[in-house]
């Protein structure tokens, strides 16, 4: 359960960070988002990662938690990168 929430938060964090970058906004949303919104996304992305770290530390103790956090961070980033690589396929499916 603990692992799952750390993972989900990391996933959400990386997704927000991805969408916070203007050049990726056109990829996914089709237009540039406002600078302000991008800023909020970036902030909330990092906040989600920090929150994941906090949960890991409270749940597992800071030593073990930090290792777990890095592990899930890697998995989440790998998934987001994979999704981003295949976005054309994903978008085609959702549009249908």
């Amino acid at each position: 359960m603990m692992d799952f929430s750390i993972f989900l938060l990391s996933l959400a964090g990386f997704a927000s960070l991805l969408l916070a970058m203007p050049r990726h906004q056109t990829d996914w949303v089709g237009r540039k988002l406002s600078v302000r919104f991008g800023y909020t996304l970036r902030l909330s992305g990092f906040a989600a990662l920090v929150l994941a770290f906090a949960i890991a530390c409270v749940g597992f103790g800071w030593a073990y938690g930090a290792v777990v956090w890095f592990g899930w961070l890697t998995v989440a980033a790998a998934l987001i990168v994979t999704a981003h690589t295949n976005r054309e396929r994903i978008m085609r499916r959702t549009r249908r």
Binding site: L73, T74, A78, T85
Partner: protein
Amino acid sequence: MSEGALPASESLTAHRLPERSFRQSMAWLHEWFGLVPGWVLFLVFLFGTTAFFQQEISGWMRPELRAGGDVTSGALHNIGVTLSPKAPDAGFWGLVLPSPRGGDAIRASWQPRDDSSGEAGEAAFDPATGAEITMRDTRGGWFLYRFHFDLHYMPWWLARYIVCIAALAMLVAILSGIVTHKKIFADFFLLRFGKGQRSWLDAHNVTGVLALPFHLMMTYTGLVALLFHMMPWAVAANFQSEEAFYKAAFPQDTVEASGKPAPVAPLPVLIAQAERLWGASPSFVAISHPGDAASVATLYPLRDALGSNPAPLRLNAVTGAMLNGTTSPGAARATEGVMIQLHAGWFAGPVLRWLYFLAGVGGTVMIATGLVLWTVKRRAKLPDPTRPHFGFRLVERLNIGVIAGSFAGLAVYFLSNRLLPLDMAQRADWEINNLFIAWGALFVWTLARPAKRAWVEALAVCAALYALVPVVNALTTSRGLIPSLIARDWIFVGFDSVMLAMAAMCALAAWKVAAHKPKATPRRKAHELAGAAA
């Protein structure tokens, strides 16, 4: 995808700036410090990754062992009772207890007193019942773990120098790689998997960047683990000999026998005492002068906590009373301890263990794709691609022979465990020999084939061998995939599933290589650029 997506290494080598910029020299450093020790590093990462599941692999390779790693006090009691008459002249008992993750029996060994005519011996006991059991002779996951820093067929000190130097080079390769890959954060999401001709580069970047904390941590802590091997001067300057250092660092009192007989306290009592004082289980119990009134039991803890593992404990083996206070290590030793634990991941629970394993697979893939990338990048620039120069052919052949060969050897190691006759002499050694025979045979085979065919065939052989492992397991034991699923034996289910996953991965890779058609465009482009520069 914009041009900015191209990592610096590629765009720089294509443009050939007259002066070598800082980043360009870093790219050079990355390529050569990655290539030369690359094959050793691949082996270290491949075998090191399997070592995260050392106990589970050992468990699979000893199918006679039904119980997990839980040592019952009844079993301990039985062993104590059996040992006394079995080794009447013993001056020393050693008891290796399995980790809670299982993988081995309780192993007892004894040595005779100096003044007796008794013989040394050893025996294995079931952790659940304490009954003596015979298991197939195998080194299990232990060999894979040792191979990742001691290699094989060579003295361990030489192997460790090789591994140390390779790890140092890897540290250089990682750091120069970060510089080369300039916009690591800005381009973070531009990392891609499997797109066209750049897929080798993409796979190298993705596995390298995403698991970067892991790679850095592993390389650095790995060097710390071999610290005194690499830098013996601190010890050499302060101590007469290495033995003198170990005596000072790990003090051991020698015990004289009193000559008065007294029975050893029941083993469960001694172990319960240690668990009460430590809050941890022992992994090794040494009892000197068993049966004597001055007998001393030294217990070594299982190192499965991150940070504070207790110091060895000395107990009066007759009464169970504590003989030494529990000492805590100095700050430097504690730091070293934490780094080694981070490296080995013994403390990790099941979920974190899988994360370690996945990151390890990522590291192995990173090294393999990096090695292949070296040839891919140079092939386009060869003056005559049909007849490459010797250096290129050497790298290409070593890549196929080491990457696919060692991976196939690993599967053969598991297959040998099931197929070699159980009563064979030096069976454990032959399991290991078979690993290297298969590897060598595949290496020789691929030498005789054109490079692309060699890759496809070697990968197909790997796929077939890994797919065979669960089949042979099901045929030779009663613990195949389906019975294990029904019995909810997750170690056996997990092992067989990973074998099938590896088979699928190799088959996919073989298919990808076979379907790959090298495009003519990059060569023409490079040619044009070279023409423009001249």
